[in-house]
């Protein structure tokens, strides 16, 4: 969870800066529409990260169950 949080934070803070350097303030172009894109992306990544976390826990549980059956 912590790792995912750092990734999200990193994306939120660092990436816009990088984009701004490469292309003259990319995020502010076309009426700041890329801010919306960024927000949707962040939400998507966050939710997927949480789902991945649940899936990992489930996999562990499945292994546990399998070991018990043997």
């Amino acid at each position: 969870m912590k790792r995912f949080l750092t990734i999200i934070l990193f994306m939120a803070i660092y990436l816009p800066g990088v984009m701004a350097q490469g292309n003259r303030d990319f995020m502010r172009e076309t009426g700041k529409i890329y801010v919306v894109v960024g927000v949707i992306l962040l939400i998507f990544v966050g939710i997927v990260a949480y789902l991945v976390r649940i899936e990992r826990k489930l996999t562990k549980l499945e292994h546990q169950l399998k070991e018990e059956k043997q």
């Binding site: 502010r28 009426g31 529409i33 962040l42 826990k57």
Partner: protein
């Protein structure tokens, strides 16, 4: 389950209806940005999403507004392009009110685009040329405006297209609220009958609420970076959200710090109820006492009527419902996982 499909349908609707409709036409700036009274100026107005060539120049009207009563009308008006208008104004010598300078609003009324306004567009400074005779302020000029009714979102200066974030950033906050309420309700139920299932639910709702809280905070920081200039401006609502998240981090630390799970569950449930009660003033009383950059800042924790128009409501309310239902769906998965894990651990013991 029907509500899971509903959440998917609503979120798809939110993304489509939130991204596809255009913004209403607006004025980004006028040039020059300041003038002396008694001057004749040639003013250019730059439009956003506007189609100035779409109708005759004589049908387009352009005013500089001092207040709701006093305004100036443009004398010659030329359409330079779809997004550029040029007009001549003769600025009066005297201000209608007191004060050495004033900020005039620019208002453009277009038969096809409708009306658009830029507040404080032109700074008018009291000039020293008292002998020159300028025009007089018109009284009640701004009327017969064209109000176009279509599916477009309001144009706001500075935030422009990112107004669409209302459907993605703000619902995170609502989902968090609903999930935390569900968590507290389940904590109360747990305290009343000691059924471990309720404790599982309370914990899962709190955890999912935390997820949405973090997402709301992070997306808010991204948006704030481009709307307010920096990701964190110690805005009272940012602080309060951060504290709300701290409460639930503390809740999980408390749960984890007991050897006997039953005892930890009970005390965590007690803390959940107690902390939630102290969150209510945090979220509804404190924000009223401090200034905020968020909309509806003075005296209103939610949106004011000016911040949402009817078109936005058509997307905003479904968005809240859709994202919240998604939150409950995810929390449901978490609960089912926990139920399984508890069962497996029981078999082992």
């Amino acid at each position: 389950m029907w509500w899971k499909s509903l959440s998917v349908v609503l979120i798809v609707y939110t993304i489509l209806a939130g991204l596809l409709p255009p913004l209403k036409p607006g004025i980004t700036r006028v040039a020059p940005e300041s003038a002396h009274s008694g001057q004749v100026i040639r003013l250019q107005a730059y439009g956003y999403n506007s189609k100035y060539t779409g109708s005759d120049a004589k049908d387009i009207r352009f005013w500089l507004e001092y207040d709701s009563l006093h305004a100036l009308a443009a004398q010659e008006l030329r359409v330079l392009s779809d997004t550029c208008l040029e007009a001549v104004f003769t600025l009066p010598v005297r201000m209608p009110g007191t004060g050495q300078n004033a900020y005039l609003n620019a208002i453009i009324d277009h038969p096809k685009d409708g009306v658009s306004l830029l507040p404080g567009a032109l700074e008018l400074v009291q000039g020293d040329s008292a002998e020159r005779v300028g025009a007089d302020w018109g009284i009640g000029l701004v009327q017969d405006l064209h109000i176009i009714k279509d599916f477009t979102f309001p144009y706001r200066n500075v935030i422009y297209e990112s107004i669409r974030n209302t459907y993605f950033h703000v619902p995170m906050w609502f989902a968090l609220m609903f999930l935390f309420v569900a968590s507290v309700i389940n904590s109360v139920r747990y305290l009343r009958n000691g059924e471990l299932e309720y404790d599982r639910r309370a914990a899962a709702y709190a955890e999912t609420g935390l997820l949405f809280g973090v997402l709301g905070l992070v997306t808010g920081m991204l948006w704030a970076n481009y709307a307010w200039g920096k990701p964190w401006s110690n805005d009272i609502k940012q602080l309060m959200t951060a504290v709300a998240l701290l409460v639930y981090f503390a809740y999980f630390i408390l749960r984890a710090s007991f050897d006997e799970p039953e005892k930890g569950a009970r005390l965590a449930a007690v803390y959940n109820v107690f902390a939630f009660a102290s969150l209510v003033p945090l979220l509804y009383i404190i924000p009223r006492m401090f200034a905020s950059l968020h909309p509806g800042a003075t005296g209103n924790p939610a949106f004011g009527s000016q911040d949402l128009d009817n078109t936005m409501r058509l997307v905003f309310y479904p968005a809240i419902l859709g994202w919240s239902l998604l939150g409950f769906w995810i929390a449901g998965l978490r609960i089912r996982y926990q139920r399984l894990e508890d069962k497996v651990l029981q078999i082992e013991v």
